[in-house]
Amino acid sequence: MGVPRWLFVPALLGAAFVLLPLVAIVARTPWSRFLELITSESSREALALSLRTSATSTLICVLLGVPMAVVLARTSFRGQGVLRSLVLLPLVLPPVVGGIALLYTFGRRGLLGETFELLGLQVAFSTTAVVLAQTFVAMPFLVVSLEGALRSAGRRYEAVAASLGARPTTVFRRVTLPLVLPGLASGAVLAFARSLGEFGATITFAGSLQGITRTLPLEIYLRRETDAEAAVALSLVLVVVAVVVIGFARQGRSAV
């Protein structure tokens, strides 16, 4: 089928706009020191931590976000609109403010502070805090893209399934989910990417201690204080990791 020719002009422009800065980074990377930079212990630890936490938070996003999306897309109740916009908020909130909000909530003196104290678990300054921060900022991505997919998939097949005697859970497992799998996949990719790049909320809520809470972005920032080029080099690593992960996700997706 024909895509209008002229469409390629703005498309190329857009691609250029997004890609040029990446090229610029690559151009400025101090390749001579590159290896030494990215293999330094602190970098390796930071990368490992980033991958661990991002994976975890993506998982949580899926576990909590899929139900939210389904409820938003498949039920209707008063105040649903408001709820939907509220769920989007972590997107607008400057990450740092998000971090403060998390402190106000899970911190020692926060809303749930006492509760947690009693349970004897202290969240702040722990890897858990990092995961929480990432989940908080990444959740909306998953919810939004999945809800969109659910809506456009429509309910006709679910209706058929139900009339064949499948109870809601079966319908959900065998019809709804498989049909929106692509949407879920790209949602998860978005969430993972966002978690991987998360900085503001993490440093504010979780702090920054090597091996425990200092993810790659935090490491990058710190390096930057002393040596901007090193920072750039490290962010390249981040980029590469992302490309690989996204690539895989896409494959899985197209395999569906």
């Binding site: 006709r156 097949y157 209706a159 058929v160 399934a161 139900a162 009339s163 064949l164 005697g165 499948a166 109870r167 809601p168 079966t170 319908v171 065998r174 019809v175 498989p178 049909l179 799998l181």
Partner: protein, 356 residues
């Protein structure tokens, strides 16, 4: 289980009441847009009526807008009602086999058992060789057959079939009709069709809808032999003229002019001035170019609109009326679309019924 249905969907101008006895198969006939699919979706629970009550066996499936009665709307999966919709709607992500196996599997059968069942049904509809394909990889008719198989594989208390024979080739249609005849025999079924043969062979009773309301119902043979509704007459391939009963004949307005149609009035004989219909088969109609002067007393001036082969003969259509004549007759009178002439029917061949 027996079904009692009475529901109205205002947005669609549909207000229908009908019953289906246990183990009975009822054919739902009616023109496009009459409300057949609407009735089915209300039954399946996909559409909530504005007012109405649906009872299957002893369970109230739907009860809406009935003062003094509490609203009920049993969810689709819990109704034991399966629906074969007008579109196949096969699950795109499942193989044809798993599509058919879906019903049994969902109602508790083991994976292997349900697959086995599915395979048998695919055999029945003659697409067993496509079991492994995705719905996107099969033809329209094959999809329709798979959908039928999927509907039959489920074992609901009530079965709804919306044009199950659509898109099937002349080769399978009779086979499938046989299959349906066998499996529907002892099930409670509501069947939507546009084909008189389906009604005659598969259904015990027919219900005729027009403009969202029931206009006629009864045993197939009866309704189709002595229809009281225009549509039923069409389906049965009979001619029908509507009018008023005035001293011993039906006064009809046809083609702008009024005329009297005589015939044998069936009990209960219509009273003076009551609405009545005159019904007669195309084979009872003879065609003349000039008005004949003979015993047959019913004569209608017509313009031939069209000729169709029909069995060994030719069906001559003129507006809503039609006559079956021999090929020789056609060539002798050299009938063609546009020819003006007369349809003549012996009074003894015309049945007259009262309609209220």
């Amino acid at each position: 289980m027996s079904l009692s249905f009475d529901a109205a969907v205002d947005e669609r101008g549909v207000d229908v009441a009908l019953d289906v006895a246990e183990g009975e198969t009822v054919a739902l006939l009616g023109p496009n847009g009459a409300g057949k699919s609407t009735v089915l979706s209300v039954l399946a629970g996909h559409l909530v009526p504005d007012r109405g009550r649906v009872v299957l066996g002893d369970r109230v499936l739907t009860s809406q807008g009935r003062p003094g009665e509490r609203r009920t709307q049993v969810p689709p999966h819990d109704r034991h009602v399966s629906l074969l919709a007008q579109e196949p709607l096969l699950f795109p992500h499942l193989s044809v086999l798993d599509n058919v196996a879906f019903g049994p599997r969902s109602t508790g059968a083991s994976r292997s058992t349900s697959r086995e069942t599915a395979r048998q049904w695919l055999e029945e509809v003659g697409v067993a060789d496509l079991a492994g394909r995705r719905p996107a990889e099969i033809s329209g008719g094959q999809a329709q057959r798979a959908a039928v198989a999927r509907a039959l594989a489920a074992t609901p208390s009530l079965m709804l079939l919306d044009e199950p024979m659509a898109a099937l080739d002349v080769d399978v249609a009779p086979q499938l009709r046989q299959t349906l005849r066998r499996v529907l025999a002892d099930r409670t079924v509501l069947l939507v069709t546009h084909d008189v043969l389906d009604a005659l062979l598969l259904a015990d009773r027919v219900v005729v809808l027009e403009d969202g309301a029931v206009v006629e119902q009864g045993p197939c043979a009866e309704v189709l032999s002595r229809p009281r509704s225009t549509f039923a007459a069409r389906v049965a391939g009979l001619n029908m003229l509507r009018g008023v009963w005035r001293d011993g004949a039906v006064e009809v307005a046809y083609g702008g002019r009024s005329m009297r149609v005589e015939g044998i009035a069936a009990e209960p004989v219509p009273g003076e001035g009551e609405d009545a219909v005159a019904v007669f088969g195309p084979s009872a109609v003879s065609v003349f170019l000039e008005a004949p002067h003979g015993s047959p007393r019913n004569l209608v001036e017509v313009t031939v609109s069209d000729l169709e082969p029909h069995g060994g003969q030719v069906r001559v259509r003129a507006g809503s009326l039609s006559a079956d004549v021999s090929v020789r007759a056609v060539s002798e009178l050299d009938l063609a679309p546009g020819t003006r002439g007369y349809f003549v029917v012996k009074a003894s061949e015309v049945a007259v019924y009262r309609t209220r």
